[in-house]
């Protein structure tokens, strides 16, 4: 059984039909890339999975449970963390308090402490800046904080929305290295990216979205060498 199953999902913004019946699945331990042009519906897909948007039709099944109608604040506790597009760290709070909020649904004090140490180990910059207000971090540091904050909930599945957006090449590499580490440590990853090249190079499988529909799917390696994909998304 797949870890996450999305079946025939339809989502509307008023009259705009943003998702037109998409279906895909993510198996435990995989890194799945979801690529597509601006406005294809990638963010909408992730937000519907984590309960921020309601589905008009279709279902989201996570670990065998139907979570389609479960409100966003209960989904974290079920094991899905969401790193939102544009990072959305809490700018008025310190780095440390942001991370603590990531563990909001957990009560195990010592284990939270362990997670905190793990995050600081993966993102030493966050440790150095732990008392700094998040709004004063650089874009790359904020992205790290958004990822660290998501990891603080100890998710089994982490969904990330364009973590490399607007970052310099050095930060982009760093972010992708960390995604690999997160995956290797046993967390399943669903990654939305504009940077299709990078995303496909670390993913196992990928789906291509176009105007609210999934138009292609396959092993990441195959898509990386697919002519149509190269033309449309890899700028070659």
């Amino acid at each position: 059984m797949a870890m996450l199953e999305v079946n025939d999902l339809h989502v509307y913004y008023g009259v705009i039909h943003a998702l037109r019946g998409i279906s895909f699945k993510v198996d435990r331990g995989e890194v799945i890339a979801l690529i597509g042009a601006n406005g294809a519906g990638k963010t909408t897909t992730l937000q519907t999975i984590t309960g921020l948007l309601p589905a008009k039709q279709g279902s989201v099944i996570f670990e065998g449970k139907d979570i389609t109608k479960i409100p966003a604040h209960k989904i974290v506790k079920m094991g899905i963390a969401h790193v939102p597009e544009g990072r959305r760290v809490f700018s008025q709070l310190s780095v440390y308090d942001n991370l603590k909020l990531g563990a909001f649904t957990r009560n195990d004090k010592t284990e939270i402490e362990e997670s905190l140490n793990m995050v600081y180990q993966r993102f030493p910059r966050l440790m150095e800046r732990k008392d700094q207000r998040a709004g004063t971090l650089s874009g790359g540091e904020q992205q790290m904080l958004a990822m660290g904050r998501a990891l603080m909930s100890k998710p089994r599945l982490i969904v990330m929305d364009e973590p490399s957006m607007g970052l310099s090449p050095i930060f982009v590499n760093e972010i992708f290295d960390i995604i690999k580490v997160v995956s290797e440590s046993g967390t399943t990853v669903l990654l939305v990216e504009q940077n299709a090249n990078k995303a496909l190079s670390i993913a196992d499988r990928a789906y291509v979205m176009e105007t609210g529909e999934i138009t292609m799917e396959g092993a990441a390696e195959d898509l990386l060498h697919d002519e149509a994909v190269q033309k449309a998304y890899l700028g070659e």
Binding site: T50, G51, L52, P71, A72, H73, K74, V76, K77, A81, H82, P84, G86, R87, R88, V89, F90, S91, Q92, L93, D97, K100, L101, G102, F104, T105, G135, G139, Q142, R149, A150, S153, G166
Partner: protein, 294 residues
């Protein structure tokens, strides 16, 4: 009367404004709405205490606690029934107009139950006055309790918001509701909690206000409510220390204007000062500049 006496009266009245302003500012900070019915919750608190004391013979402290509980339930209910369904409305005016409606509703219910005549409030705070300089400055028990209550509330709220898990959740909701939900924070629950705290504080403010100016009418909360709103804007709406400082400054300006300039134009002066402050610093004294999102 001496300047010190006026100053003391100003700080005392300002402390009441500050406690009311805290409710305004917290609700604004979290729910992004102006709860114009907030002032009328004060009136409800005052009537509850008055009825409990005169009709049921409940001891003072207990009456205040019951009034806080009643106002808390009232605040949560108002939010749930009147404001929550409109939270996703396309225009923020919808909820503002509803709030004004709720304000009139509360006033009219009070009118129906208690009539338009002012009722004399009873002594809840039975503490002796302090006298300084051979009676040159006398500070009443009510004033002492008012100022102390204001300080204690301020300290507790600041600690709550900055040091506790739930307080951080509140700040998160205030800044970004969706991101807060992704952390597992229940946004509706957090907004209810905010209304609960604000309304409980309104009950305290009602008792303090009516202890100092001991007449209760259905309109008792209206003007102090508006002044506290001004105080919250003055200090920077959304800011807890801002509401506090704004409230006290407002009270002092009001009393000093009444004493030294004219009691007729005192309110005009209060609002004039607000306008000047907003012209110089549009976000209020402690208001955060709106941060640009990257």
């Amino acid at each position: 009367m001496s300047f010190l006496t006026y100053l003391k009266d100003g700080i005392s009245l300002g402390s009441v404004y500050a406690i009311i302003a805290l409710g305004y500012t917290m609700v604004y900070g979290i729910a992004k709405m102006l709860n114009f019915a907030h002032g009328d919750v004060i009136m409800v608190g005052a009537y509850v205490v008055l009825m409990l004391l005169t009709k049921a013979g409940v001891p003072g402290i207990l009456a205040v606690l019951i009034a806080m509980a009643v106002c808390t339930v009232l605040g949560i209910t108002i939010e749930k029934v009147a404001y929550r369904p409109l939270r996703k409305a396309s225009s923020p005016l919808a909820v503002l107009i509803t709030a004004i409606g709720v304000s009139y509703l509360l006033q009219n219910i009070a009118l129906l139950l208690f009539g338009a005549d002012g009722k004399t409030f009873v002594d809840v705070i039975k503490l002796p006055s302090l006298s300084f300089g051979d009676g040159a400055l006398i500070i009443s028990g009510t004033t002492i309790v008012t100022i102390l209550a204001c300080i204690i509330i301020m300290v507790c709220l600041t600690l709550f918001v900055n040091k506790t898990r739930q307080g951080h959740a509140m700040q998160a909701v205030s800044e970004d509701k969706d991101a807060a939900q992704l952390m597992g924070v229940n946004v509706n629950g957090t907004i209810s909690l905010t209304f609960a705290i604000g309304s409980a504080l309104a009950a305290i403010a009602g008792v303090l206000l009516c202890s100092a100016y001991p007449i209760v009418t259905p309109y008792t909360g209206a003007m102090p409510g508006i002044k506290a709103f001004v105080a919250a804007v003055f200090g920077g709406i959304g800011s807890i220390p801002g509401a506090m400082i704004g409230g006290i400054l407002l009270g002092v300006i009001e009393i000093l204007s009444k004493a030294y300039i004219s009691s007729q134009v005192a309110d005009a002066i209060v609002f004039g000062v607000l306008i000047v402050v907003l012209l110089v610093k549009p976000t209020g004294l402690f208001g955060r500049n709106i941060q640009e999102k990257v």
